[in-house]
Subunit: 146 residues, 2 copies
DNA sequence: TATAATAATTTTGAAATCGAGATAATTTTA
DNA sequence: TAAAATTATCTCGATTTCAAAATTATTATA
């Protein structure tokens, strides 16, 4: 049938959404139980693993509007998890930098976070995870560029 | 390495999130360009494809808090896309039913919606889509049950 | 049959997100 | 150099969402 391709794409869209939501629901619960919301966690983890970031960049990586970045960074600053740092070279730019308290938080949380994700993924073998990673890369990279 | 499994799970979580968000971003844009938000579209599509639903059930299928269902159903009702229907057997229950206008809307939109998704998925062959569907099913179903 | 427990929906107030516009700084162009 | 365009951040108002409590209806229990 000629529209089999479309039908299959729709099916893939549905299972992709379900898998993402099912896993995320659990992950978010644990994050929220630790006093942050998913966006705050995403920002903090970004700073922890990738170092200081201009506010701008954060929006691009976490997929967040500029107004929302200001809001989330405010929240994390109030909680003592990060601090703003003026860029000496370009006075329009503000860096967000994780504090020692923020680092401790991530260090405390991350093992549990990683373990939960591994558990949620345990229905796949390592081989299948590799296949899924490759397929999803092939799917996600071009879609992000459209 | 013993923690390779965890590392791989984390990697899979990241590419899954990216693929989902990249695709969804585009899909949502088209939906919003047609005057509904993604949640409203999800509810309407559910009613179109699965028939009348008690408000309750909608929340379970779309993953939405009960207060939000009331809000979204109000919105769709104001737009003439659905109507509330009292359940004769149990007066606590209200069904949501898509109207003719709602049906026309979905019929108008759906081909474009499906085509967009097919385009966004076009980096995979049909064979790869089938593999991805199977892997994501295997991943999502158990994760949903935890 | 009362009473209590459960269930479905709605209301309410707070939090999160967006988009558009404002402000300030930098870069490009004439 | 001066004006215009671009860039980064922030502010503001509106929308969407959630969580908890309120309301109404049903079912189970004493």
């Amino acid at each position: 049938m000629e529209n089999d391709s479309v039908t299959k794409s729709l099916k893939l869209f549905i299972v992709l959404s379900r898998a993402y939501k099912a896993i995320n629901e659990h992950v978010n619960k644990v994050i929220q139980a630790n006093g942050l919301n998913p966006t705050e966690f995403a920002v903090l983890e970004l700073l922890y693993h990738k170092g200081d970031q201009p506010m701008q960049q954060i929006g691009g990586k976490i997929l967040l509007a500029s107004g929302s970045i200001t809001y989330v960074v405010d929240k994390l600053e109030q909680k003592g998890m990060l601090q703003r740092l003026a860029c000496p070279k370009d006075r329009r730019v503000t860096y967000a930098q994780i504090t020692d308290e923020g680092k401790r938080f991530i260090q405390d949380i991350f093992p549990e976070h990683a373990k939960l994700i591994d558990t949620l993924m345990s229905s796949l073998t390592d081989q299948e995870k590799t296949e899924a990673i490759n397929l999803l890369k092939k799917l996600g990279l071009p879609a992000g560029r459209f």
